[in-house]
Amino acid sequence: MSLGDLQQLSMLAVARLGEDAYGAAIREELRGIAGRNVSVQTVWVTLVRLEEQGLAESIQVPRPGGGRARRIFSLTPSGWQALQAARASMARMWEGVVVP
């Protein structure tokens, strides 16, 4: 399964954030680390689609200080596989490439 650019970045952000991978945090991660300034809605569209494809899953987790529970995303085994495959294919493509 080939992944789009934003899908890969979002999955990596989910992986980096671990148990704090909720929408706003993922958006901040994309903006701060990858320099991608996307809205939280766009992040959510990507994550819901990843869920539909079986690459991610989510659960509601209560917040420590009370308040409404947050939906935390994580990668499924298929998601990890797809991410690794994407990384490998990217690495293969880079092999032999000489940057002038």
Partner: protein, 923 residues
């Protein structure tokens, strides 16, 4: 900083929540809220508020809503099928119709009336856009005057028309035609029958460019003084009266007393301008016109039309017309005689489309009654849909458990909504079929009643296009009546109810149904008010049933040439000349009556000058003051002139006094007979015999000699739909009957026969033709039929309004009843607990009916001005005054009765709720 300050703007959040929905949508909204707090911390609350609002407008917000909805639906229905109407859907729909027959009947009736009502104005507008069946029909326009002061329309003077014909360069040709005239046609076989025809200028045929089937059209040489008398006949007349003789051209026929030569036969599909069957040259036919006199200003009795040259716009033609007209006025030496009350200077020339001119409609976009009819039609449809929607909502709400189970079994919300839509569609399609059948019947009835006034190329029958529109409206109705309730019932709460399907959480009706109920009540009050006003202001009808079936009536006209006499010379004064002329006419009328009375099958014959159902001739009269009674002031009366023996002929008894004697045929006759209504209203208990009255001009100034009342007769019943004294502001106090002693040449001949009419009608025309073949005689008809048809035309709109009113009231009651019943069934537990805690009957009644009563109150308050607006928009005369107040009060009373009827059943059921049983069943 408190938590509440960290919260995003409430209204915007509510909107976002609506867009994104529950479940993951709510989780996503939490993240958007987190973003808001970040923005707020960085840039302040104002900027953050704006930022938050812009999230409503962002495409990715809406995309997210779609993605989440699809994902959540997909979770319930892993495999998705395209939605198509299957036989199963239709069978389920039909099964629901059978299972709820009450709803089926009410909904079918509601949509069966609502869909044709919504359809009718558009249908009529589409039909009236049908182009004339001639070449380049859009270049044919009507030239007319608009009185800028009164807003009335006028045709031009005939000599002004001639000036236009000679000087207008924007037009290829212009023509003058009379409208809806009837001519007595006598053929060689002696048959004499009236035929609708037009007196036209020869340019009429040049403009229409339709070649004749045989012979030639009228040409310029037919239009000169002393030209031979000719006629062009229509295809139907050629077939019916000339046996489709191919050698008809050159044959003689007597038309309106003049022997004419047939010069042409027009093809079958040419009956211009209405349903005409013969065309005569205007110049030789119309005495008043050929004398060069101005044609009297009459609405739509004649028409000037023409064909614009290529490339000339309507505006250019109108500008040129104004210039030519100003030049004509400047050149004229003698004064222009316009009709009384018309200022020639205020007449503005107009160039309009042919049908606009023919139907004497205002130029430009439709306004006033036309727009109102359109709006009301749509309003009736929307209200019908809304009410059916309420009924379906109530039924659907009662099926919550079934829907919850279906959801649990994997049916998506989309699937359930679609099924409910199909159920509503089945009802709407049946209703549309019923509605179209009813509409077709009504159209046939109306076309038969007004056939001669329908241009021949307009087909008001239900066309394929109208049927497609009906199907579209049916689908739209099903969307409103089926889908909206379905969306509400299957909304977020359905899954909650799924968890406790047996008890069912109560469904809230929400603001939408509150608005619908208020609209419903407002419209019911408005239509009841308008209907009640029309009923109160209706014409007073003397019943036609009292008229003998042996009475026959025919309109007779004595042509001018039959009484033509020499010019006024120095040897004879104008008065003597007029007297001699009147005597001639009088003698002809008396002779006609005398000759007819000698016929074996005729019992009696008489004459009146106002036809049954014609607009009444109302005049102000003043009753002379006497010592025993003071002055009675000026009163309005419906005036009819009748031949002596009239009342005996029609069989109306005298309450007091007697008939006119033969002496009353003198022009100096001074007797008058009062109708019973006039005598009762004006003179009350006083003895009317011997009292004198005279015409006044409305300001109380005398306008004629004194007449003495010699008798009081029971109202004649001949007034037809116009009523005893007309309607609105012209309403008269009743009828007065004066002797017919003037020079009237067009009158109503009333004949009492020995037996029922049967086939007497053609015989009467033959008898009159034997007396004088020049007399023009209309189709003789039973008097009862004429009066009844006039009554039908006058009262049909009122009856339709009352029918519509009843329909809306029943619908409003049904809708309110359905919702109230549902409220009670859903609040049984609450009612039980309240009763157990000591609530009294009043409290329970208030609990159940409070909301409905509030909505009825608001609806009634809105309905009263709406009634006034409807009546004003429909240009109903005599609007205002005590009748309107009575009508509105009556309407509010009806609304209360409806409310009481709708609420009684549910309230009684609520009061019968036993707390122990309810709580036991809950447990």
């Amino acid at each position: 900083m408190t938590d509440s300050l960290n919260e995003p703007p409430r209204w915007t959040r509510r909107m976002l929540r609506r867009i994104l929905g529950m479940g993951k949508g709510a989780d996503a909204l939490e993240d958007v809220d987190s973003e808001y707090r970040i923005v707020r911390g960085r840039r302040g609350s104002a900027i953050a508020g704006i930022w938050y609002f812009t999230q409503l407008l962002r495409p990715d917000t809406w995309q997210l809503a779609r993605v989440i909805r699809r994902a959540e639906d997909g979770r319930l229905t892993p495999r998705r099928y395209p939605l198509r109407i299957s036989w199963l859907d239709l069978r389920l729909g039909v099964r629901m119709l059978v299972k709820h027959p009450g709803l089926t009947i009410v909904a079918t009736l509601a949509l069966g009336v609502g869909i044709p009502a919504g359809l009718a104005p558009g249908h009529v507008a589409r039909v009236e856009q049908t182009a004339l069946p001639v070449r380049e029909a859009d270049r044919i326009k009507v030239l007319r005057y608009l009185d800028t002061t009164s807003g009335r329309l006028h045709t031009p003077f005939i000599d002004e028309f001639r000036d236009w014909r000679d000087n207008l360069s924007s037009w290829r040709s212009v023509a003058f035609t009379s409208l809806q005239r009837r001519y007595n046609v006598v053929t060689r076989d002696g048959r004499s029958e009236p035929v609708q025809g037009a007196a036209v200028t020869p340019s009429f045929f040049e403009i229409l460019e339709v070649p004749p089937l045989l012979g030639r059209p009228l040409v310029a040489s037919d239009d000169v003084p002393d030209a031979p008398h000719v006629v062009v006949i229509g295809h139907a007349l050629w077939r019916s009266r000339f046996g489709a003789d191919p050698d008809v051209v050159g044959r003689q026929v007597r038309v309106g007393g003049v022997q004419r030569t047939v010069v042409g036969v027009m093809p079958e599909d040419f009956r211009f301008p209405y349903r005409d069957e013969l065309w005569l040259p205007l110049q030789s036919n119309d005495v008043s016109v050929s004398a060069g006199e101005p044609v009297p200003f009459r609405r739509a009795s004649s028409l000037v039309f023409g064909r614009l040259r290529d490339g000339v716009s309507t505006e250019q033609a109108e500008d040129e017309l104004a210039a030519v007209r100003n030049h004509w006025v400047a050149q004229r030496t003698e004064p222009i005689r316009a009709a009384p009350g018309v200022d020639y200077a205020s007449l503005k020339p107009q160039v309009v489309g042919f049908l606009t001119g023919l139907f004497a409609k205002p130029a430009g976009a439709p306004s006033g009654p036309a727009v109102l009819a359109q709006l009301l039609g749509l309003l009736v449809l929307v209200v019908a849909c809304a009410n059916v929607g309420m009924l379906i909502f109530a039924r659907t709400a009662a099926r919550t458990s079934e829907l919850a189970v279906r959801t649990a079994l994997g049916a998506s919300r989309r699937r359930i909504v679609f099924q409910l839509f199909v159920e509503a569609l089945v009802i709407a399609l049946i209703a549309t079929g019923v509605g179209l059948l009813v509409a077709q019947g009504a159209v046939s009835q109306l076309l038969e009643a007004y056939q001669e006034a329908q241009p021949y190329w307009l087909d008001y029958g239900i066309s394929l296009e109208t049927m497609l529109w009906a199907l579209a409206l049916a689908t739209g109705s099903a969307v409103i009546a089926g889908t909206i309730p379905a969306l509400r019932v299957t909304g977020a709460g359905l899954r909650i109810r799924l968890g406790r399907a047996t008890t069912g959480a109560p469904l809230r009706f929400g603001g939408l149904y509150g608005v619908l109920t208020v609209t419903n009540v407002a419209l019911a009050v408005a239509t009841v008010g308008a209907g009640a006003f029309l009923w109160l202001a209706r014409p007073e009808l003397a019943t036609s049933a009292e008229l003998s079936p042996r009475l026959v009536v025919a309109e007779v006209a004595i042509p001018n040439r039959s009484v033509r006499q020499g010019p006024i010379t120095d040897d004879i004064s104008v008065e003597d000349w007029v007297r001699a002329y009147t005597d001639k006419v009088l003698a002809l009328r008396v002779e006609l009556v005398r000759r007819l009375k000698t016929q074996a099958e005729i019992v009696d014959v008489s004459i009146a000058d106002v036809l049954p159902g014609s607009p009444p001739n109302t005049r102000y009269v003043e009753i002379e003051a006497v010592a025993s009674a003071g002055a009675l002031g000026s009163r309005r009366a419906r005036v009819t002139h009748v031949h002596p023996g009239f009342f005996e002929a029609i069989g109306r008894p005298f309450l007091t006094g007697s008939e006119f004697g033969a002496v009353n045929l003198e022009a100096t006759a001074t007797s008058v007979i009062a109708g019973s209504t006039f005598a009762r209203r004006v003179l009350g208990e006083r003895n009317p015999l011997g009292r004198r009255l005279r015409y006044t001009d409305g300001r109380g100034e005398p306008a004629g000699p004194w007449y003495e009342i010699v008798g009081v007769v029971d109202d004649t019943g001949l007034e037809g739909g116009q009523g005893i004294g007309g309607i609105g502001e012209d309403r008269a106090e009743g009828g007065l009957y004066f002797p017919l002693a003037d020079e009237t040449r067009s009158f109503d001949l009333i004949v009492r026969l020995e037996a029922n009419p049967g086939s007497f009608a053609p015989r009467l025309r033959r008898l009159i033709a034997e007396i004088d073949p020049t007399y023009i005689v209309s189709e003789p008809q039973p008097l009862r039929t004429v009066v009844a048809s006039s009554e039908f035309r006058a009262t049909a709109p009122i009856k339709a309004a009352i029918l519509l009113t009843g329909f809306l009231v029943v619908l409003a009651a049904a809708g309110t009843h359905a919702l109230m019943s549902l409220t009670v069934s859903q609040r049984r537990r609450e009612i039980g607990i309240r009763t157990a805690l000591g609530a009294q009957a009043n409290d329970i009644t208030g609990l159940v009916a409070r909301r409905a009563i509030g909505q009825l109150g608001v609806g009634s308050v809105l309905g009263a001005p709406l009634a006034w607006w409807i009546l004003r928009g429909a240009e109903v005369p005599g609007l205002g005054g005590s009748r309107l107040v009575v009508a509105v009060v009556l309407a509010c009373g009806v609304a209360l009765v409806v409310a009481a009827l709708a609420c009684t059943g549910p309230i009684v059921r609520a009061l019968r709720v036993m707390p122990s049983e309810t709580l036991q069943s809950e447990a």
